[in-house]
Symmetry: C2
DNA sequence: CAATTATACAGGAATTATTATTATATAATA
DNA sequence: TATTATATAATAATAATTCCTGTATAATTG
């Protein structure tokens, strides 16, 4: 997503109601590169808006994802995470703590794909996930999964 | 995984017990390109081995994944899927029905990654997911998500 | 600015994939 | 064949997400 203001305008065009809860979620997500879960967002919004329900956070995140303002990340089996950056980038996932880092070098050459496949599937989007270990988990030595 | 026989030998070396339930799961997975869920595998094995429990299927799939015989796929929010092919290939996911197709052209050039990043994270594995629509879902016309 | 109405919200219950627990069975070994 | 540690079956527990329902409110119109 871009700024909160610009995102609000986009949502208004899509006939979404601009509620205080939505705005708080947008504020949490704006420029957020931590790939928070719905629960993470809920905890942050609750500090400003104590009566918000988790269900509402789910609803808002679902709307933002469906309208392309944010991107749901399905990497951690236990919970979805959300990425406010919908521009082209890749993810590096730590096999230890499951932390997600961003990388902004495009490693993919779609031209290697036969046109027939691109046409057959109407491909216009792709994700690259690199797997390794973050500094913290490497420092812990074993490189076994150290956190769950 | 390779053949059932070769996989059994690998597991034997790892001190895993070769049970009839394990062998049936291997038979289901061998050469299987349908990316079945644990439930899918359970249903197939149950035809041969009616008393097997879903929990056992989960245990076996977890072991096979942890030892690198198969690969767990975390694409569908609702359930994990399992890929018996652990050689380098990519996935094309249908935004409509969530079907997963394989593609065997490597689109990634890891050399574009600065060495410092590869070293920092000790990257040795990566996945590429392409998003589009399969023929069935395109034929249904709308290209809205047609199945859930 | 007040009335209207469809959408969003809060709270709680339901759903469902996955994991944990435990007593029993069995593969591997000697 | 006896032993023993691991695997299994059955069941319960866990937890993220979705569903449901009555109420509140954002947006719109007069």
């Amino acid at each position: 997503m871009e700024t909160v203001e610009k995102t609000i305008e986009k949502l208004r065009v899509l006939d979404k109601r601009i509620t205080p809860q939505l705005i708080e979620v947008l504020k949490v997500m704006e420029g957020n590169t931590s790939h928070p879960s719905a629960g993470d967002v809920y905890e942050k919004v609750k500090k400003i808006f104590p009566t918000i329900s988790l269900n509402t956070v789910y609803n808002i995140l679902k709307t933002l994802n469906a309208t392309g303002q944010i991107q749901e990340i399905l990497i951690d089996r236990e919970r979805s995470k959300y990425d406010s950056n919908v521009t082209l980038h890749h993810h590096i996932i730590c096999n230890g703590c499951k932390r997600i880092d961003d990388i902004f070098i495009d490693l993919v050459d779609l031209a290697k794909l036969p046109d027939v496949i691109i046409a057959k599937y109407n491909i216009k989007d792709y994700h690259v996930d690199l797997y390794g270990y973050c500094k913290d988990c490497k420092d812990k030595g074993s490189q076994e999964d150290s956190q769950t």
